[in-house]
Symmetry: C2
Subunit: 271 residues, 2 copies
Amino acid sequence: MTRQELTAQIRARKSFLCVGLDTDLKKIPQHLLTEEDPIFAFNKAIIDATAPWCVSYKPNLAFYESAGIKGMLAFEKTVKYLNESYPDHFIIADAKRGDIGNTSKMYARTFFEEYDVDSLTVAPYMGNDSVQPFLEYEGKWVILLALTSNKGSFSFQHLPLRDAEGELFEEVLRVSSTWGNDSNMMYVVGATQGEEFKKVRKIVPNHFLLVPGIGAQGGSLEEVVKYGMIDDCGLIVNSSRAIIYASAGRDFAQAAADAAKAVQQQMAAFL
Amino acid sequence: MTRQELTAQIRARKSFLCVGLDTDLKKIPQHLLTEEDPIFAFNKAIIDATAPWCVSYKPNLAFYESAGIKGMLAFEKTVKYLNESYPDHFIIADAKRGDIGNTSKMYARTFFEEYDVDSLTVAPYMGNDSVQPFLEYEGKWVILLALTSNKGSFSFQHLPLRDAEGELFEEVLRVSSTWGNDSNMMYVVGATQGEEFKKVRKIVPNHFLLVPGIGAQGGSLEEVVKYGMIDDCGLIVNSSRAIIYASAGRDFAQAAADAAKAVQQQMAAFL
């Protein structure tokens, strides 16, 4: 998906919401467990209910891998269903991969050719040649971890540097933004990081940011918009648990739609 | 596997070799492609041939994921075969995972409970709570990326820090070594990093190091030993392509055994 196609969707739906498909067999409504593929049944219902209110879906690979082969089949079916039934929604495989070039090439092939997702989250620690193979696919995106939403982001991401300005995450932004461009790279910046968005926007004024951390993790949509939004929006804000587990009963899909719609309406006011 | 069990194996086999199972359908001998599960058939032959000369196997998840569901089934079968037939060999799932705590917990469950590998490679960028869930399993190990073998290691890992001594990888070692101990954490340090091993050993004198980068990537075993070896060895040196693809013909298993034995004999001289 190109940047123009993505921003057209954002305008059309008045939404920059991404629904995170962190589907966990222990948390989905128990009546679904009798389905042949409970994970896919849950995802399909959530997608059908929330599609009008969001522009993106983000299945988190950890949840699918933890269910073994069945989980990976459910992931594959979910992506296929999205590509066929909702081709205008931007698919993010949240996998946080990254390895030596030879190996990253294999991951790129898997996610961009086999599964055909629009984008993949990638970890920056292994540097240039670990990211490059993902940038060689037309219309596909790398979403690089810059400043994450968790407490552990303070272990290393905020380390002040000696020969470069600011902290590690700023150098990650500065250096990695030369590897691709604002039409094939985005950055993960956690909603919990507040005013740090100002620093991010100084370095990457035009890149899209994928923002996790509102909802269950406590980040504020208002702050994210205040410091992160640009002319063509430049934001995809994710919410997972607060939407997909809004109800554990038979009304789970409707409850998810209501939760997604509530976020979308806040977003519409900002657009 | 405990540290004592691992070091007992190193002494018994006079080897600290890990064979990397980077199994690629495009590179394995073509006569295997008629097998029901060519990836597993290849791995089983390689394992049976090389087991006397090594102490560890490292399947790289990228290669299995890229073959889709069939690939993941082959990974599962390979780990099961190792656990049943070669329980004394240390299994490293080379997956370079790492996510927010809630998600890392899922990865830990997958790799340590479902697949039952001994250890998992983990990326440090997301910090403490992304690594902690992996440390909660008795007898299991985190192998954290510190200084990798690829060129991209110069993008960020060598950045000099302002308020801490040395470079980023040194702070990663210093900080993360307080999260676990030298019986549940190891570090990835590339063989291509030469004298940097001295700096690593200053900070983590007793941790095991997993060393990729000899063989196809050009690192020197002699240098690794000179700067990295400690009393109970403290090294697991990986070779993937140079061993498993030593021959593309029907003699591939024997050729792999010969290549592994050649490395083992160099290692025996150092022990």
